[in-house]
């Protein structure tokens, strides 16, 4: 149960904080009901907006975790080749998908009108 307790102990505060942030963003959406009902396309893009940043950051975090464990990323806050490569690779992806997403939203919006 050592691993179980370690996961709970290390995750619980962060997960509570991020879930509360999610709840606040939901409340913000809910408080602006006129916008939600007049532009329902917002609901269509909500999951993809949420996941795009999540995808890129989890890939980065996941790679860094593995890198730290196997020793290719040093446990110090300093510039390293591996870190730079990870950031660049994911930045290219992020820009590509922002473009794809924007085009998709543009066409969905035009079809809606």
């Amino acid at each position: 149960m050592k691993y179980f307790l370690k996961i709970i102990k290390e995750s619980i505060i962060i997960v509570i904080i991020s879930s509360l942030m999610g709840l606040f963003s939901g409340t913000f959406l809910s408080a602006n009901q006129e916008i939600l009902y007049t532009i329902p396309i917002i609901l269509l893009i909500l999951p993809s907006l949420n996941s795009l940043i999540g995808d890129i950051s989890t890939v980065l975090v996941s790679r860094l975790t593995s890198g730290l464990y196997i020793g290719t990323v040093p446990p110090k806050i300093k510039k390293s080749r591996s870190l730079k490569e990870n950031f660049l690779g994911l930045l290219i992806n992020l820009v590509e998908f922002r473009c794809i997403n924007s085009i998709r939203i543009y066409f969905s919006n035009n079809n809606g009108n």
């Binding site: 179980f4 995750s11 879930s19």
Partner: protein
Amino acid sequence: MEKQDFKGKIVKETFPSEIISIIGDIMAGLVLLLLILPFKSFLILIMIVPALLSLRGNLSGPFIARTSRDFIVGEFNKKSFLENTLATLTLSIVIGILIGVFCMILNFLIIKIFILPIEMYILIPIISIILTLSVSIPSSTALNYIAFKYGLDPNNMVNPIMTAIDDFFTVIFFYITLLILGVP
């Protein structure tokens, strides 16, 4: 050249998974738009959706990262998998309760729509996140295993694919939970 290869590997392995992720998220958005919008309690439900989506990401993301790390460092075994799963489920129940409680408080203070019974605030996030994890945990572990077996880096491809699957199932199971509980 080696530098370009490394960067290219990340882009190459992440790109197809991201395309799948975008398709899955469009489906999730459609379900949200077509199935959740007609509910009378929509304004309360929309408060819970971003919290549920982020909770799902915060639970399955680290679960995938831990599993892929275990595969990479060769420490994947039954015990570590069970403890990882149990910890993820425990966290989901605890945070589900907290989401319900805070949603109730925020509704009482800001939105002021009182059409949902108190127990629904707690039951909706818990049931939908547990149903989502019941799909997410086995499929992400299987994907990690397949990626590792075929020599791909699980870190690059499993997360985006699972985001699509998870986001879609989060919204679907959210809808199913609303139907099971008879939410107005």
